[in-house]
Each structure stands twice: as structure tokens, then as C-alpha cells.
Amino acid sequence: MAEEQKEAKPKKRMTATKAAASIGPMVKEFITGTLQAKAEGKYKVAYTFIVCHHEEIFRALDVIPVWTENFAGICGAKRDAERFLQRAESLGFSRSLCTYALCGIGFDQWREELGQMPPEAPWGGQVRPDFMISSGQILCDPRSKWYQASQQFMPDVPIYNIDLPYPLFQENRDHREVLGYYHQYIVKQLRGLVAFLEEQTKKKMDYDRLRELVNLSDRTWNLIDETYKLRRAAPCPMGTGDAMNTMVPINFMMATQKAYDFFVDLKKELEEKIARGEGEVENEKYRLMWGGGLPAWYALNDFNYFNSKGASFPVETTYRMVAPLNEMDLPETKDPIEHLAWRWLGYWTFWYDKAKKRPGSEPDVERLINWIEEYKIDGVVMHEAFSCRTWHVGLIWQLHQLAKIYKPIPVYMIGKGGQKEKVYRELPSLILESDIIDITSYSEVDTRNKIDAFVETLESIQSNRAT
């Protein structure tokens, strides 16, 4: 494997907000921090996954999380994932598997083989962990398998695999019937995590500190929710392209003052933009929703391309990992662990009751419908990343279901008799196909052609509007 060619560097993406522009350096600082922590040896570093909503436990025990999905995303964004993916393939992993995991495993194996970071490792590289926290959530098989596979190359690094299920939406059942034993189980799993971390760090959990951190992240949750809801304004002050950056404090920095402060600043910036009538797009013609899927990290510029056609993205279902806590109806408890478990369940079941009320709906579809209304959406864009089933299976079904139960656009069209008649049209949608970080799956020409055709579609619907 002498030839580890890098792809050409992408053009820098233009952000609509100052806040989003500040994320790059923040991530870099974060990664440098993990390398430094490891070198100093004062704190333990742990591989782990985002959206498990228990980072407070790490922070209370001064464990430094290394978000391995994030590192793979960085390799992708820098168009430098291919050499790690190829390495994983050489080890016998199929390219059809989660490419985040393949990139991480390829990188780790290389680092372990060399006894040092691979040459020109992005942003200094991914540090060797002291231990790994897998997460067998209800979703994401690769999360359960990734670290187990990595252990082949670092068998001395222990794993704690925490199971965090939630009850799946079932039309014929009230999920509250089963929440009790789900909660009990999650509490036990979280306590197991605490015990594992205590053993690894040789520290005792300070529950007062944990309670404070949980309180801090609860406040941050609500603040994020308020901030993001500002994007309902027309023109929309911040789009999904920026949100793919501002997901960093949400997912990597929860339970830190820095994350809270970040959203204080962002909220202020958005309020100011709204007051000035300033939008993500200068002349906002179409408001689109990023309705599903992780982005192609090497092609975030496509958001600028949408913007250049007058399309803004006021809302996305991806990485918006909060829901207003006061609307979740969480049982009161003084025990922070119990609270974390309730918050986890509350988050995942947030749309269940609403979905029950609308025949044919289900939580993800319900969220689409609600946000289409709240954010005045003209079209839905989704991304189908071939290597990730976790977030990309079920999307076309959601669109299908959406079309069945939601037909809000009245347009004139020619019926069988050749007469013009008023009908209700489903929301137009676009599915982009490529991958999160495997750039060989992506064609800029094809993607832009699709975007062109989609925008022409939006245009023709607008001109045929019945009202």
C-alpha cells in the first residue's frame, strides 16, 4: 500500500453564521486536547459514540471522550478517508459496511502496527484509548461491533458495551406500558458504566458534581431548542449546512459550559440577523428540509450550491438531538442517573403520542409533518448513504407515507378529459445517493444535476400554484 493518495482538497464551505465558522478551530482544539491528555497521562481517554446522552457521567469522572465517528467524519471532510478505508478492506472488511467504522478500524490498525500515528494523520490523529465504551443502542449494529473488531489490534484495551434500548413505536400499543422495565434496565446499564469507569479511573463518582452537570446539559438542551426554533423566521437566518457544524457542541461538548455559551452566542447572532432581515440566502425562494440521513462530509459545499439557487434549509432531522424537556413530561427524581434514563426514553418517544393520533403516521413521519408546517417547507431533501443502515433505512418509506397522508400543495393540472383541474400535490422530494465518507460513491456532476432538476421542479410547482 505504498500509494496512499489523497483526494484534492475541497473548497472551503461558506457559512451563514459566525458561530458555524468558529467550529473548525474548536474541533481541532478538541482533538489536540485528546492527544495532549494522553501524553500527560493525567486523565483517561475513552473511545465512544455520540447521541448516547450520558456524557455527564464521563465528565464527572474526568474521562476525556474521543468521538470516533467524529474523527472518521473529519477524515471524510478532509477527503482523506480513502487510505484508511482501503486498509480496512485489506483486513477483510467489506466496503458495504459502515465506513465510519472501517475508517476508524483502518486507522487504528495502522497506528498499532507502526507504534505511532500514521503519516500525515488528519489533525494529529486519533489517540490510542485507555478503554472503549461501545453502545448497543436499539439502533446501530456497527456500534456494537466496531470496537470489538478494533480489539483485534489492541486486545489490551477493555470495552464496556452499554445497552440503551427504547421501546419501538408500535401502533397497537401504548409505550407507557413498558417504559417501567425499560427505565429499570437503562438505570442498571448506566450504573454499570459508572462502576466500569470508577474501576478504570480509580476514582469515586461525585454525585453532586454529576447532578450539576446534568443540570447544565438540561439547560443547554432547552437553549438549543429555543435557538433552533428561531430558524422558523423567513428568510431563515441559518441553514442545515451550518447546522452540520453547530452539531459539534450538541454532540461532542454537552455538559460543558462551553457548549452552553456557544448557544448563547448563536442565539444572539440569529436574533440579530432576524432583526436585520438577513437570511442564509440573499433572496430566499424555496425553504427545504433536510429530512433524513447523515451528510456526505466531503461535499458540504452542496449546501452552498442549493443556496446559490435560492434554496435555504431552515430545519433538519439530523443531529438535532434535543427536544424541549418541559414537553417531555419526565418523572421527577433526585437521582441523576434515573433522570438520565428518563430523559433518554423521553427523547426517543417524544413523537409517539402525536403519531398515534394520525392514522398512517409514525414518529419520524410525524416529525416531518410537524416541521413542514412549523418551518413552512416547500420540499424535502434526503441523503441515502450506502454504508449506513442505522440512519438511512426507512427514509423512502417515510416519504411514501408522507405522500399518503399529507398533500398540501394545490396545483392545476390537466386531467384525463384534457381539462385543467385543481388537485393537491405531494411535497416534492429529492434523494441524494452517496456515502458519509466514502468519496468513491459520490459524483459531483450527478449530484448537481439532480439538484438542478429538483430546483426546476420547485420552480414549476410554484408557477402552477392554484392560489
Partner: protein, 261 residues
Amino acid sequence: MVFVLGIDIGSAQSKGVILDDQGSLGSFECASGGDFKLTAERMREELLSRAGRSVDDISRTVATGYGSKLVIFADEIKSDIVCLAKGVSSQLPTARTVIDIGDLYTKVLRTDGNGSVHSFILSGKCAGGSGRILQVIARVLQVRVDEIGELSLKSKKRVEFNTGCAVFAETEAISRLSQEVTKEDLLAGLHRALAAQINSLAERIGVEQEVAMVGGGARDAGLVQALKEIRGHDILVPPNPYMTAALGAAIIARESLTIQD
């Protein structure tokens, strides 16, 4: 009287239509060749001579297709999705789903009678499910592309055929022939497999009736029949189905003039 041009430079074939207020004055089709700029020039000349007009008579030209960016004299470039919808709506206003089988890509779109597109999908990263495979097979069987439809319809026992890769379809066909499979049965198998692949693509955006088939692939009666069988209902094919995108481009050119007026 206004005159407009619609020019569709495809990866294999280029198509053009010249319209006036009343309708088509003529159309032309030729191989795209390697130099799309030159092909576009030639296309314009041919169309003008067919209509007995000169360059100055043309009020507007819309280009579409794979090589549309190289039609330097075009006033506007439109995606073939929109042109297809427009073209089909003018010929078959009841069509709600359009399947275009081109040389490199297969495209499916949903439309209304006005030529508005409501959703669309393109085939993936590989030419396996496109019209190219038909040409490849025609060469192996030493028949003309326009003969394979009729041949296929004569089959009594189609074979199971795998259409993974358009290049390897050739070798697969060769090996099938050596297993004493007839041309007819082989073609029927190919059409069935290709139709299944195309149908599967179409199903991903949901198929609403009626269904129209256009593009070079719609000239193949065997493929149309195979798709009918898989879908279990009739499929509309407009006259000169390969001209649809060019026609749509010309209509768009004419419409944008009316709006400007």
C-alpha cells in the same frame, strides 16, 4: 411567427426539434460522436434546413442532455428531467409516471399534465441498468439494435439472465450462447432482467398510472413488453420516443417566450 430549437445532446445519440407556434417543423437525430460542440452545430444546421429557416429566425434555443453544456449557442440549459416531463405532457397528458431509458442512465419521474415534475430518480453509479446493455448484446448477437425487440417477442422460454455489469453482459451472453440457448430466449431473459431493474428503480419513487416509456429504450418492443408484464398494466409509448427530451426543450423555449411577452 416565432421559431425555437430544442437540442438534446445525449451520450450516444443527439436529437433536435424545431418548432413554430403551430407545432413541429422537423426533427433530426444523429450520433453524438466525440465532439459535442460540432454535433450541436450540425444539429442546428440540419434543423434549419429542414424548416427552411436561417439562424436569425430562431428566437430561442434550449439545450438539454449529457452534453448540453457544450451547446454554446443555447440561450438556456435545462435538465433533461424537466424537458422529459414537458415533452411527455405535450404528447401524453395523462401520463403520471415517465420512464426514460437512455444510453448511460435510466431516469424515472412523476409528473402532472402540465409538465411539472413532482419527484424523480436516476439510476446509480453503474451503467448496468441502462440502455447500453442492449447495444452490447446486439453486437454479440450480430443483429441490429432495432431488431432485438421483435426477436425477443418470439421467445418461448426465456433464460435467467444477470445484468450486473453492462460490459460483462457480453461475456455472459457469449457463455449462454455456448450453452445452446437461442438468441430469442437470451434476449427475452435480458429484457426481463433489465425491466425488473428498471421497475425496481421506478418503485422507489412510487409509480402512479398512467406510465409512459420514452428514450432510446422505448424503441425496443421487447423491453416495453417485459415491463408491461412485470407491472401488469399497459404502458404508453409516444411516437418517436427518443425525441421526447428535445421536444420538451423546444416547448420550454417557446413557453418562456410567451411568458416574456
